[in-house]
């Protein structure tokens, strides 16, 4: 008999949420992560709890996912977000005209919007480019990219999941056409051992293609990095977006005493080798200062790259054309049992991704329990040892 019902590979937000969901459904779960949890894309993203407005015109499926999950996460994980809303700022006449599409798109997707005049916007955010023509307020929020998923880890762990950081998959072991075990290396001791399971879940985001290669199946993943720049100073309280079709350097997310400007988009083969193009850092300064001119004088704190796990065919070159929605793959279609992949999506939709994955996993295992209610009490953000009482701080 296998040691676990479900073995999750990948300790990012998606893996955390899948571990949490499956544990609530009564399964015995373990999760392996080659480094510290949230050390891949999860911790490094922009820190934006999307309202979905950014996708409301061109990618309605993603927009609807975002606003649904945004609403649920605010309810189940209070204290994980700076409830600061977001502004979409129109600077040119063309952008002002585009605001009609944005507002209409948001209404179609169920995203609350409020149109603000130039003066109203400047009263809320005095450092905005004074040339702005109008703005649209939406329920974006700042999230702590690491601590929000840590709540899912802490809760899963308290409910019995075995979370194994610094544990890297080195091989997959098959029995017939089914994956039956993984061989892992514990990097704390450099010792290898095996973990048996009924089903193996690839939740490695931009690395999911590499993991799928080890199993001999295909995941159409395009690791698509973007550059972000953090500057000293909280230049706004709300998330500031450029009101136009998605482009580079058009979002400023305030985080603690920093402002984070992002991002750009290109496509790489190896998610471990993203690089940090110098011209992209300068582009963040240039584009960011069209929204908030003080970006140009702000002191540099950090610049980094993070890879999105976009789903798309080989040949996509900028990543901008690819949808931000997620997809769960059952590799039985390629003749491999006991192995599924969840990828794509966004940090803001981690809970929904997990629910979809858990539904597929339970169906495959013949484990007939209903999905847990979306509202669960969560552990507080801080503890890695969840011996404290539950709280909804």
């Amino acid at each position: 008999m296998a040691s676990y019902h479900a073995v999750i590979i990948g300790g990012g937000g998606t893996g955390a949420a899948v571990a949490h969901d499956l544990t609530l459904r009564g399964l015995k779960v373990t999760l392996v992560e080659r480094g510290e949890v949230t050390s891949g894309t999860t911790g490094r993203h922009h820190g934006l709890l999307h309202s979905g407005a950014r996708y409301a015109v061109k990618d309605k499926e993603s927009a609807v996912e975002c606003i649904e999950e945004n609403t649920i996460l605010r309810r189940i994980a209070p204290g994980s977000f700076e409830l600061n809303d977001g502004l979409f700022v129109a600077i040119s006449e063309e952008e002002e005209a585009y605001s009609k599409d944005l507002i209409e798109g948001c209404r179609e997707c169920g995203i609350p919007v409020k149109q603000l005049t130039r003066e109203e916007a400047l009263r809320l955010e005095p450092r905005l480019n004074p040339d702005l023509r109008m703005a649209v307020q939406v329920p974006d929020a700042t999230m702590d990219a690491m601590r929000m998923p840590l709540r899912f880890f802490a809760t899963a762990k308290a409910n019995g999941a075995d979370i194994r950081p610094f544990t890297e998959v080195v091989d997959f072991i098959k029995r017939g056409n089914a994956v039956s075990a993984i061989r892992v290396r514990d990097h704390r001791s450099e010792k290898d051992y095996e973990i048996t399971g009924d089903i193996f879940i690839n939740a490695t985001g931009p690395w999911s293609g590499k993991i799928a290669d080890m199993v001999g199946v295909e995941v159409p993943i395009r690791p698509s990095p973007g550059v972000m720049l953090a500057v000293y100073g909280r230049l706004s309280n709300m998330v500031i977006n450029h009101l136009h079709q998605s482009g580079d350097g058009d979002i400023i997310v305030p985080q603690r005493g920093l402002s984070v400007i992002g991002t750009s988009s290109w496509v790489v083969e190896d998610p471990d080798n993203l690089g940090l193009p110098e011209e992209h850092i300068q582009m963040m300064v240039d584009k960011g200062s069209t929204l908030i001119p003080a970006v140009r004088q702000a002191k540099f704190r950090a610049a980094w790259s993070a890879a999105r796990p976009l789903i798309g065919p080989r040949g996509a070159d900028t990543g901008r054309e690819l949808s931000r929605t997620f997809k769960c793959f059952d590799h039985v279609d390629e003749g491999v049992e006991g192995f599924v992949t969840i990828t794509g999506g966004k940090a803001a939709t981690l809970r929904g991704m997990a629910e979809t994955t858990a539904n597929m996993v339970c169906q495959k295992l013949g484990h007939d329990v209903p999905a847990p209610p979306a509202r669960q009490s969560y552990y507080r953000i801080r503890p890695t040892t969840p011996k404290e009482t539950r709280s909804n701080d």
Binding site: G35, E36, D85, K114, R123, D144, R188, R234, R301
Partner: protein, 239 residues
């Protein structure tokens, strides 16, 4: 962009080993390469067993604290070439149990921090002249302290007295006293009013020196002492 090869002398330790060793890796870096990226490059290209903690890459999560050339820093915001040394020595934080390589066990640190009970979200103090958007009660933001443990590693008392609560927890207590937001402060003041708490500090201010978030734990400890002194006087006077 200039490229240069620098030697990273990294402390190594795997469980079962009798004591840590040092291993030197040559790394090609440019002006933008941080110590963190240099370490992950080593892991990718030279030694996949090198273990470290990292997450946000911009000094917002607090996971990549380590000692770089002997000083507590977040590896994600230290550029290798800015250090100006041909060999860069990288070691794990002090005053926390070593798990492997550059990874220490943060659980005792978090446990003390939890006793302080500091909420993660605080009132935003910026833009006092701005209005608050409709639908938002008031702007909130994350606390400055990112729980990285640099102050605890740098504190000269922590090494000799494991009972001492340390600068991070004491600063957190003072934040609650400053902005209680419904939390009870008297029992917290009782918790720190002793030789494990804020009277143990020797006022070296190493904690404030190394804090990457401008928290000034040393200042918070002094503020707690003032608060406790006031409390004693008011009790003496029956207030």
């Amino acid at each position: 962009m200039t490229e240069k090869t620098v030697q990273l002398k990294v402390m190594r330790y795997k469980q079962g080993q009798s004591s840590p060793t040092y291993q030197t890796f040559p790394v090609t870096v440019n002006e933008n390469t941080t110590v963190l990226v240099a370490l992950t490059d080593i892991r990718r290209d030279q030694d996949s067993s090198l273990s470290l903690r990292h997450s946000c890459h911009h000094a917002s999560c607090g996971t990549c604290g380590m000692r770089i050339n002997g000083e507590e820093q977040l590896a994600c915001v230290v550029k290798v070439l800015d250090l100006g040394t041909d060999t860069v020595v990288v070691e794990p934080l002090n005053n926390a149990p070593l798990l492997t390589d550059l990874v220490v066990n943060m659980e005792p640190f978090y446990d003390r921090f939890n006793t302080a009970g500091l909420p993660f979200i605080r009132e935003s103090e910026f833009l006092p002249d701005a209005e608050v958007a409709e639908g938002i009660e008031n702007y909130m933001r994350c606390e400055n302290c990112i729980e990285c443990g640099l102050c605890v590693s740098a504190c000269p008392i922590m090494g000799s007295d494991p009972e001492y609560y340390g600068p991070a927890a004491l600063a957190a207590v003072n934040r609650v006293v400053e902005e209680p937001r419904g939390l009870e402060t008297e029992s917290l003041l009782d918790w720190v009013d002793n030789q494990k708490g804020c009277w143990r500090c020797h006022v070296a201010y190493e904690c404030s020196e190394v804090c990457p978030s401008g928290v000034d734990p040393g200042g918070h400890i002094m503020a707690l002492r003032r608060q406790l002194t006031r409390r004693r006087f008011s009790r003496l006077l029956g207030g």
